[in-house]
Symmetry: C2
Subunit: 112 residues, 2 copies
């Protein structure tokens, strides 16, 4: 239980940054060498590598070094836990609020 919660913490924290989300979007088009991946970001390379490290620690990307080139690729499977958390709760909560709303409307009608 604690582990699953830690996993969700890490996943949501990884997604809560525009650079990291943009990297995931870029890798959605295919594996990319780190230099090419860093290019669109106006950021010092060490800061950019720090973002990649966060994504790799969460299992959202994998990297492989061939010769002098490290290439990153996407691993979208761990996103499922975060997706599941949001999807199940939001739908349920909105349904509850709708029910409460209908109930209040009904009460009002009965009183008027």
């Amino acid at each position: 239980m604690a582990n699953q919660s830690d996993e969700l913490d890490g996943m949501f924290q990884a997604l809560g940054d525009p650079t990291r989300r943009a990297v995931l979007e870029r890798l959605g088009s295919g594996p990319t060498p780190v230099r090419e991946l860093a290019e669109p970001f106006k950021m010092a390379l060490p800061s950019f590598l720090q973002h990649l490290r966060v994504l790799e620690d969460r299992g959202l990307v994998h990297s492989q070094k061939v010769g002098r080139v490290r290439t990153y690729r996407l691993a979208p499977q761990p996103l499922k836990a975060a997706e599941h958390w949001i999807v199940t709760r939001r739908a349920h909560w909105e349904r509850r609020l709708d029910q409460l709303d209908s109930y209040l409307q009904e009460l009002k009608k009965q009183q008027s």
Copy 2:
């Protein structure tokens, strides 16, 4: 575009904490006075209130003070943006990876 990205940052950062997720879950059962909401958490009240402030800043909860009692209620609608981001991308990325996998399997077959 920048605004939408900021909104996603805030939303994912708000969800990346176990106390804040637990508060949302608790509020899923109905509006709750702040003291009652704080009770299960072994945490100083000011720290707990800070978590509530983060959730309220993101629009995920609303509060109302009646007399001396502040009551919080859930506002799940803003979660939609975060849900949409994850759901659209993950499904698309997994499909792409599956296609790539089938293609590689096909190549292997042809070569053997």
